[in-house]
Subunit: 232 residues, 4 copies
Amino acid sequence: MLEQLKEKVFKANLDLVKHHLVIFTWGNVSGIDREKGLVVIKPSGVDYDTMKAEDMVIVDLQTGKVIEGNLNPSSDTPTHLELYRAFPEIGGIVHTHSTYATAWAQTGKDIPNIGTTHADYFHDAIPCTDDMTQAQMPDYELNTGTIIVDKFKKKHINWNHTPGVLVKNHGPFTWGTDCDNAVYNSVVLEQVAKMAFISLTINPATTMNPLLIEKHFNRKHGPNAYYGQSKK
Amino acid sequence: MLEQLKEKVFKANLDLVKHHLVIFTWGNVSGIDREKGLVVIKPSGVDYDTMKAEDMVIVDLQTGKVIEGNLNPSSDTPTHLELYRAFPEIGGIVHTHSTYATAWAQTGKDIPNIGTTHADYFHDAIPCTDDMTQAQMPDYELNTGTIIVDKFKKKHINWNHTPGVLVKNHGPFTWGTDCDNAVYNSVVLEQVAKMAFISLTINPATTMNPLLIEKHFNRKHGPNAYYGQSKK
Amino acid sequence: MLEQLKEKVFKANLDLVKHHLVIFTWGNVSGIDREKGLVVIKPSGVDYDTMKAEDMVIVDLQTGKVIEGNLNPSSDTPTHLELYRAFPEIGGIVHTHSTYATAWAQTGKDIPNIGTTHADYFHDAIPCTDDMTQAQMPDYELNTGTIIVDKFKKKHINWNHTPGVLVKNHGPFTWGTDCDNAVYNSVVLEQVAKMAFISLTINPATTMNPLLIEKHFNRKHGPNAYYGQSKK
Amino acid sequence: MLEQLKEKVFKANLDLVKHHLVIFTWGNVSGIDREKGLVVIKPSGVDYDTMKAEDMVIVDLQTGKVIEGNLNPSSDTPTHLELYRAFPEIGGIVHTHSTYATAWAQTGKDIPNIGTTHADYFHDAIPCTDDMTQAQMPDYELNTGTIIVDKFKKKHINWNHTPGVLVKNHGPFTWGTDCDNAVYNSVVLEQVAKMAFISLTINPATTMNPLLIEKHFNRKHGPNAYYGQSKK
């Protein structure tokens, strides 16, 4: 069942290691089949070097029930499902503890959009969620999704144009059109987080002209995008 | 004698190199056979690339005498033995000069618990020991153990829940259920030390909600832990 | 057509990856045949691991028209052409988003000349361009070249003696006698940017004696240069 | 002539690359035959990946004249010779532009002795030289040696116990009993420089108890040293 998606999600999980975004079992990638309403996700706490494509777990988008698989799905599965339900256009989600993005998440601060590298992939600052309330704690993983969605809705951030978030004191989640695109965005986020750390240490007053943000974002993602070979 | 433990301790020492926690001879791993009261430890000042499993030295837990082995045991052996005697549940100990944990140790400050990566493995701040007194200096390695144990007892820190320490101006020690688990905790400590450095440079006021610490620690280590495959 | 230059530019593009200056498609190298008035440049948005020498695109120096090639040239082509037109001695140009140089570019600050590593290759501070005006935005890539050239002319900086620049909020461009020399200068710039970040974090008052700048620059580039084997 | 020393110095030069202390041609190692009064040193500006043992140049300790070799010796040769003449016990010298040590050199500040990693190999702070005077500039490389020697003599620093220095705005030199030991000390210096940067960013008031410095230095280098296997 969903063999192709399982293979793709499996490989995307290994890409996290290749891009130095995770050590041990500290990350997970999922992908969704929107027609079937099924999500394929990494099993919980399994080493990347022994993991196989058939270890991927299939869960139901609405109920979270395991549909196929012998292993527990990632403990972060309820977060993934909440994001898939709230952001209907996304096809893949990544969670890591990558160094610089996680360090920013720990601070509780948004990563400001101060460079074209950021603006090429994320239109807005990478938002950091608010503290979870005590009442939300018992459903921790589900409500991690809730506080992400709340942040985007409250701040009117377009989740397709800013495909990532920092969960306060925890770490980043990114998403994309599919799981590979979500991994790509995780790599960008880590790089952007590192450069913002350096820039703001050099010059705490660093900002970027909003016109430049629009120019760069639209050069790649606007209706008249002209970067790459697709418009040839 | 203890061939299996020697092989395991030997491999754990090499893992320090693999994880980029040591260069040259700057680290050591030991493991204990509690029933026999014997500790297996790396020899002193031997290069990792020429070291063999049979070079591991067996010493007596109580007396520190070499029971088997042609080489001097690590000069840090008295520290290891003091920790094994004071912390009866631990099965392995690691000492490194890993970059960020050592830099924190040099500052004399605890690494505050400001992220879930930290809380997943260490319940409290990673404590930094006090200065050794002049009277303690002649028995330097033994008293390195003493000041570690004193810090945990004085601050009422559970050493099984916070399996690591910074020795002031020197570097980190970690421990665990066995030597592999102690190495794992050394990798985590270095990563946590790096991220705390970045977070506090960005935002010196960084803190974490204590409820989140409890949630994350217990998700992996509490009576109702549900991370990984063990509760399947 | 220009097979040798295409091969050379292709290899120089791969060198960016080898020197860890680019990930994904975030960089481009070009080289010029001054006699023919033709520029060879990387295609836009093509992965480095599938790219071939024959994918290089040939464009006209004056008109920017594609003379040969099946792919779109780099979206930064108009910037390269403007630099080739304004700086008549240069033979190759490199653009990257290398971490430390880009972080400096984001701050809007010049990288001060505070070390002999810098002075060995760049006589002056690495200048950072001014903000592009709203009127310049529609011709963004061309005017990226314009604001670079303006900065060098307004500040009377010799572009052959300071073969690199930071484009504000964007990233570095370097150039050289040919594309390999431009790549070399990109590597130096990234290293110089990293060291300046560290030095100024340690001591914000860091400066260098101007006599030392002259000495080091002239040791390698002055009329009586004596570094290396060429004066043997 | 001196084939064994040339082979050893050649390999030590390659070790700089292996330990990530140099890129391109930015470093040099020499070794001395005290009986013959001859120094073997890397040629100037030659790439590490094409360099061969027979490219090493032999120069006279007193006159600096090339005794054997087809290539120019390192442009830093007069600095090496001055150090060999002033520090009669040393057998090898290394110069690099390693990132953190060079960044410290740029600041003009000594690297304070704030950790046992430092004290294990360098008894005192790593001193940074004063500015060279205008009168000294014409004999730049020779006087780089002079200002190093002046610093050690003026501050009464034992060069055998603190085998390294920062040349202001330039970079580190280290030395040792032979060229391999000098390379070892370069690796330690870079690591110590990085950790001091991190520590002082976290806590600008970081210091170390002088008793601990004595303890660690003597544990490895004192008359009753007990680290390693030599006292077995």
